[in-house]
């Protein structure tokens, strides 16, 4: 059989035409790669959370083991936004009683590892601790330190997977892969509702690609007519059968906090 080779000039113009057609393709779905689309959605979701200034809230966690036994954690937190950097967060623990008064300060960074300090009231000691612990359990719960912080877009690569219904909403499903080697996850799959781009569910896959945990976020409330905040977050560990229900309450926005309330000096007087 004989293959007819096209004229070289003709072949070139065909490629150019195809390229032009691709560039001006009106449907956005085909205009971008899955990676670009993923990044665009993740960036948009993050942008919508910006500008809240600061807030305070209470957290309470119920840890449940396989046999259904429960233990409680109670803490309060303060968060402030920083221009061109990650948020700063101060946690103060109330329960369990033996760690009451312990405080934890995080200066999150977009591209560098976070700075973290722990205040131990019994010795009045401030300890700088390593951010490499991010995959470790937060207070014995199913949440790890990395699950507790705000998700900075720069810390992941993103990929758009598909759209699908999620409960009463229509969701965009994204895959994100953590860039940090200290992360406990190989990847996460996130369901964001198309309307408000709120995280509705996240599946976590461990380094051996096993489906480790699922986080379900419910009871969103809107503050300052703009910012959506979760009511309850349930994390289920599929490998151990343990779960943690985290409930947010007492949200207060626009408080008089400023950056000087997030220093090592402020950590020593945290209540």
């Amino acid at each position: 059989m004989r293959i007819a080779l096209p004229h070289p000039a003709l072949a070139l113009s065909a490629v150019l035409l195809a390229a032009l057609a691709w560039t001006f393709e009106p449907s956005a779905g085909h205009a971008q790669s899955a990676e670009e689309e993923g990044l665009r959605i993740a960036t948009e979701a993050r942008e919508r959370q910006k500008g809240y200034g600061n807030f305070t809230a209470s957290l309470n966690m119920i840890l449940r083991n396989k046999r259904g036994q429960e233990s409680k954690r109670e803490l309060r937190l303060k968060v402030i936004e920083v221009d061109d950097d990650g948020d700063r967060t101060m946690f103060v623990f109330d329960r369990p009683r033996d760690v009451k008064g312990t405080a934890f300060l995080v200066h999150a960074h977009k591209n560098d590892p976070d700075d973290q300090w722990l205040y131990l009231p019994a010795l009045k000691r401030v300890k700088r601790i390593s951010a490499s612990k991010q995959s470790g359990s937060f207070m014995g719960s199913e949440f790890s330190y990395e699950d507790m912080g705000a998700v900075e877009v720069e810390k992941y690569t993103h990929r758009y997977l598909r759209d699908e219904p999620c409960g009463e909403f229509e969701c965009a499903v994204l895959e994100r892969i953590p860039l940090s080697e200290d992360s406990g996850y190989s990847r996460q799959v996130v369901w964001l509702d198309r309307g408000e781009l709120r995280s509705m569910q996240i599946e976590f896959f461990d380094r051996r690609e096993a489906h480790l945990k699922t986080m379900v976020i419910e009871g969103y409330q809107q503050f300052l007519d703009r910012f959506w905040r979760a009511g309850t977050v349930t994390m289920t560990n599929h490998l151990t059968g343990k779960s943690t229900v985290l409930s947010w309450s007492d949200y207060e926005f626009g408080t008089d906090l400023d950056l000087s309330d997030f220093t090592k000096t402020a950590l020593k007087r945290a209540r």
């Binding site: 083991n65 009683r97 000691r125 700088r128 390593s130 490499s132 470790g136 000087s260 000096t265 007087r269």
Partner: protein
């Protein structure tokens, strides 16, 4: 006693602020936050005592409670009394005011000021072996030989802090004398310590005003503190003093003598990935060495801590610690850290009970001395927790400062109730 006076002064300062507050109609009891810990302790010394009169156990309880009250501006008063009862050694039974201070703070342009007035505790340092740079508070040595528990110290403490770090100035008076085990207690030198013979180099005695300052800051992975202290030493020189003259050989006691010293200190930690690199160093002038000669000296403790997260594919993390302590005075150093190496491993299970195991070994490079310790911590419920610790003086050289405690290995069980 000076503390009630200080307390009432602080309360009278706070009272107008509280009365003007929005909660003035509430009862004062509703505004006070209470927290604290009750702890039962059983400590057993399996080795037979070296010194006459010493007992083989120390058991009793300790209670520490904090009352905290704050007004609408954030001005607060904190009061923390402490009491320990020990059935074995009456000198270990003691009370202390750990905290009784007024705290105020406010903006200073983009920076911030903070004032703490009253009895407080201040900690400086980064290493695990022993507190070296830390000097503001007196050691409550009867609590534990690790020197980590401190007595409350009356002070004026001003802080100016900003993005660049923090500058702190301290005015300290009302020197506290170090607590020591008594005749019936273990972990003490052979001669008895006579607190009635305490003396000071300063003619103002315990009322000398000590001054201290510290700059501290965080620069990327580095946290650093530079400090200076000028005043009466927290570490006494133990002067052998003959008491009575009719007995041959005449018995003698140790009389604590507190010199005036000046100490410069640096504490630094670099936190990078799984590694912590640590250094504490001091230069002290004005203190006497083990030969009762005044000798200026430098000392340092440096080391690393390496943490393996999710070790053995579990939730646990394992920290390995190695530190080297060195004191320029060598064999004339006044403590057991003339030249020692600490090796330790700490396993935190990260479970809901916060279970933690620690084993460590402290070995002298100068003498053939070695101490080993093992510790276990476990939360039993929201309020109850268990703490078990064993400390073994495996081998203590005759020339070592620690020789008198060579048979004072102990095992201790604490059951704590927190509220």
């Amino acid at each position: 006693m000076r503390l009630p006076l200080l307390l009432s002064a602080a309360l009278s300062l706070l009272a107008p602020a509280l009365a003007g507050g929005a909660h003035a109609q509430d009862g004062i009891a509703d505004l006070i936050e209470l927290s604290g810990r009750l702890s039962t302790e059983a400590r057993l010394y399996p080795g037979s005592p070296v010194h006459p009169g010493q007992r083989s156990h120390a058991s009793g309880f300790a209670a520490e409670a904090t009352a905290y009250i704050e007004d609408d501006d954030g001005t607060s008063f904190t009061f923390t009394p402490f009491y320990r009862y020990d059935a074995g050694d009456p000198d270990r039974t003691h009370a202390d005011v750990r905290d009784a201070y007024l705290l105020m703070y406010g903006d200073l342009g983009d920076d911030e000021w903070e004032l703490r007035l009253g009895v407080d505790r201040v900690f400086w340092g980064v290493v695990e072996s022993r507190p070296l740079v830390d000097i503001v508070n007196q050691t409550d040595l009867v609590e534990h030989p690790n020197e980590k528990t401190k007595l409350g110290q009356p002070m004026v403490h001003v802080t100016w802090s900003g993005d660049w770090g923090a500058l702190e100035l301290f005015g300290l008076t009302g020197h506290r004398t170090r607590t020591f085990p008594g005749r019936h207690g273990r972990l003490r030198p052979a001669p008895l310590i006579d607190h009635d013979r305490t003396s000071y180099e300063s003619s103002a005695e315990e009322w000398h005003v000590d001054l201290a300052g510290r700059f501290s800051g965080s620069f990327g992975p580095l946290d650093v503190g530079l400090s200076v202290f000028d005043g009466t030493s927290r570490e006494p020189t133990m002067l052998p003093t003959v008491v009575g003259s009719t007995i041959v050989p005449p018995p003698f006691v140790l009389a604590p003598y507190y010199e005036r010293i000046r100490q410069y200190g640096v504490d630094a930690q670099i936190t990078t990935g799984q590694w912590l690199l640590k250094l504490e160093a001091i230069h002290r002038a004005g203190a006497q060495n083990r030969r009762y000669e005044e000798e200026d000296y430098a000392a340092f403790i440096t080391g690393v801590e390496y943490t393996i997260n999710q070790v053995w594919e579990s939730d646990a993390d394992l920290s390995l610690i190695a530190e080297w302590a060195h004191d320029e005075r060598g064999e004339w150093a006044t403590n057991a850290f003339e030249s020692d190496v600490l090796l330790a491993a700490r396993l935190g299970l990260n479970d809901e009970y916060d279970t933690q195991f620690t084993v460590s070994s402290l070995e002298s490079l100068e003498y053939s001395s070695r101490a080993i310790s093992a510790e276990f911590k476990h939360r039993l419920s929201d309020s109850w927790s268990l703490h078990v610790e064993g400390l073994a003086y495996a081998e203590i050289d005759e020339k070592d400062v620690m020789y008198d405690v060579r048979r004072d290995s102990f095992i201790e069980v604490n059951l704590d109730y927190s509220f």
